[in-house]
């Protein structure tokens, strides 16, 4: 038999086997976890005497369990989006300053500090929030309530330091470094050639950034923001310390209302009955689905303008 010049090379077999095996193993583990969680959640959902998706109250440990995800999911989404709205513009500004404005030495130091901040455990931010931010927020909250009280978000007869807003601020500070760090990396990768193209047309530095750097970095910044959003939604301990832990749907972020799925799990899992644990696991699955949906939306946004992404250049 003639030996083919395109023979599969030796050693590829075991490698193929190892990578395929690892992939299958990973999928199997994930499936096992999912099955386990669903199995735990189902009896609780069956014992529920209210509607899980629309009920606000969370009393799964009672002899007649009543619980629903509505208030918790609302709090998760609202606090995370507020955090994102606060963090992203600042993160982009910081990233641009480091990548395109700061002198090289300062940029190096700042970049390092941001990386450090991104690595700080979230409980540290939570404790800082409790000790410093809750008392501190009284002032700015009163200001917002007095002058912007006509906006439903800031409405209310009284303001509290331990509020949805304070939790969102802690989340924003927590996710800011990671968004800034990734954005900086992305901005640094903007092609010099394209930056020079705009400068040679007579663009100022800011115009150059708008023409060449931001459009190029857009998908990366969106991905960074989604990563930050995911962290904010899943954040547990930092906000468990700060949320008022009520079960109301309240758009007024300065009021003494606010909670999130993750915070509620952290606060409640210890004393939960088996039904209570199942209920919390069900809420965790909802959090997972919300995160998944948000990520898919982000991918759609990125894919929509792929043609113009610069990937081809």
């Amino acid at each position: 038999m003639r030996r083919s010049a395109f023979r599969r090379s030796r050693g590829e077999g075991p490698f193929r086997f190892a990578t395929t095996g690892a992939g299958i193993l990973l999928l199997a583990i994930m499936a096992a976890i999912a099955v386990f969680l669903v199995v735990k959640a189902v009896p609780a959902l069956q014992a529920n005497t209210s509607h899980f998706l629309t009920e606000k109250v969370w009393t799964p440990n009672a002899t007649k369990p009543v619980f629903g995800i509505a208030a918790l999911a609302f709090g998760t989404v609202l606090s995370s989006f507020l955090a994102l709205i606060m963090a992203v513009p600042i993160a982009i500004g910081v990233a641009l300053f480091i990548s395109h404005y700061a002198p090289r030495r300062l940029a190096g130091v700042l970049g390092y500090v941001i990386d450090l901040l991104a690595a700080v455990p979230s409980v540290v931010y939570g404790l800082w929030g409790v000790i410093f931010l809750i008392p501190f927020m009284q002032g700015p909250s009163t200001f917002l309530n007095t002058y912007f009280g006509w906006i439903p978000l800031f409405a209310g007869d009284a303001v509290y330091g331990k509020s949805m807003l304070t939790a969102s601020v802690v989340l924003a500070i927590m996710i800011l470094p990671i968004i800034a760090a990734i954005s900086r990396e992305v901005f640094l990768q903007a092609p010099k050639m394209i930056e020079e193209a705009s400068l040679a047309l007579g663009a100022t530095r800011w115009e150059m950034i708008r023409m060449s750097v931001l459009p190029f970095g857009r998908p990366g910044v969106i991905s960074a923001a989604m990563l930050g959003l995911g962290r904010a939604m899943g954040e547990t301990i930092a906000v468990a310390l700060i949320f008022p832990a009520t079960f109301d749907i309240d758009i007024r972020v300065l009021s003494a209302n606010g909670n999130s799925i993750a915070a509620n799990i952290a606060n409640g899992f210890g004393e939960a009955t088996p039904i209570g644990q199942g209920a919390l696991i069900a809420s965790g699955l909802v959090l997972f689905i919300i995160t998944l949906v948000v990520n898919m939306a982000a991918r759609l946004i990125i894919a929509r303008r792929k043609e113009f992404s610069g990937a081809a250049a």
Binding site: I194, G310, A311, A313
Partner: protein
């Protein structure tokens, strides 16, 4: 309006490294001036001093004087941004904005100069693309990304983008070196046409190209390894290629070195 450039005793540095030294020359309006010389002799560096693009590189600086008609480009009160709006540039590798459509690429410079109406932009984009001999190829896909064009088309798109803002001078740094022969010819035709309206300076590695497209040619050379590049001689292109004054020029154009 095409303008004359007068350079006197110009040095350019990268940090402490002096890349070019003592360059003095006059570039005539409504003509094509070619820069030739071996790699690394500072042709690109010199070209970039003419629109103050040299100084965007960290640590890079310039000494000497460049007059564009009666305006000193390196005067303290001159904003480099406004210099670059008057002196356009085309780069060695085509660099259309990848995130913009063909239309927006050509209109990019116009929008920098302030608000312009949509119809005004449409008019200028069309004339610029026509002047760049690209209109017929792209008129049906103006909203498609510029990065989808062929290399030669991209380079003509970059030329259209540069001339859309009606500069006085057009600088081209080896605009054909990344292109195939057909696209190269298309660009050379375009240069011959554009010289009626602009002062054109073109760096080229290709001696035949210099001979074909330019009216005057400047030959640059290095005195030695690590030495700054210098202008050896500058004259009518026909004279440089048939009867140069300097021995080094003759050696270079006959292919004896470089």
């Amino acid at each position: 309006m095409a303008k004359q450039i007068e350079v006197s005793d110009l040095d350019a540095y990268y940090g402490s490294h002096k890349a070019i030294e003592g360059i003095t020359m006059t570039v005539e309006p409504r003509s094509v001036t070619a820069f030739i010389g071996p790699s690394g002799c500072g042709k690109s560096t010199f070209l970039r001093t003419l629109n103050r693009m040299h100084e965007v590189i960290p640590g890079a600086r310039v000494q000497g004087k460049i007059m564009l008609e009666d305006q000193d480009l390196y005067d303290k009160d001159v904003d480099p941004v406004s210099v670059r709006r008057t002196v356009g540039m085309v780069f060695q590798r085509p660099n259309p904005f990848p995130t913009m459509s063909i239309f927006d690429n050509v209109a990019a410079g116009l929008r920098l100069n302030g608000r312009i109406s949509k119809s005004e932009a449409q008019g200028i984009v069309e004339t610029s693309l026509k002047d760049a001999n690209l209109w017929n190829e792209v008129k049906d896909r103006l909203n498609k990304p510029g990065s989808g064009l062929s290399g030669g088309q991209q380079q003509r798109l970059c030329i259209a983008r540069a001339i859309a803002v009606s500069p006085a001078v057009l600088l081209m740094d080896e605009p054909c070196s990344a292109l195939d022969p057909i696209s190269t010819l298309a660009i050379e035709d375009l240069i011959a046409k554009l010289k009626n309206d602009y002062t054109i300076v073109i760096v080229t590695h290709n001696m035949q190209q210099a001979a074909r497209v330019s009216d005057r040619t400047a030959f640059f050379n290095l005195a030695g390894q690590g030495q700054p590049g210098k202008l050896v001689e500058m004259d009518e292109t026909s004279k440089i290629f048939t009867n140069p004054t300097q021995k080094a020029t003759e050696d270079y154009i006959t292919g004896r070195f470089g």
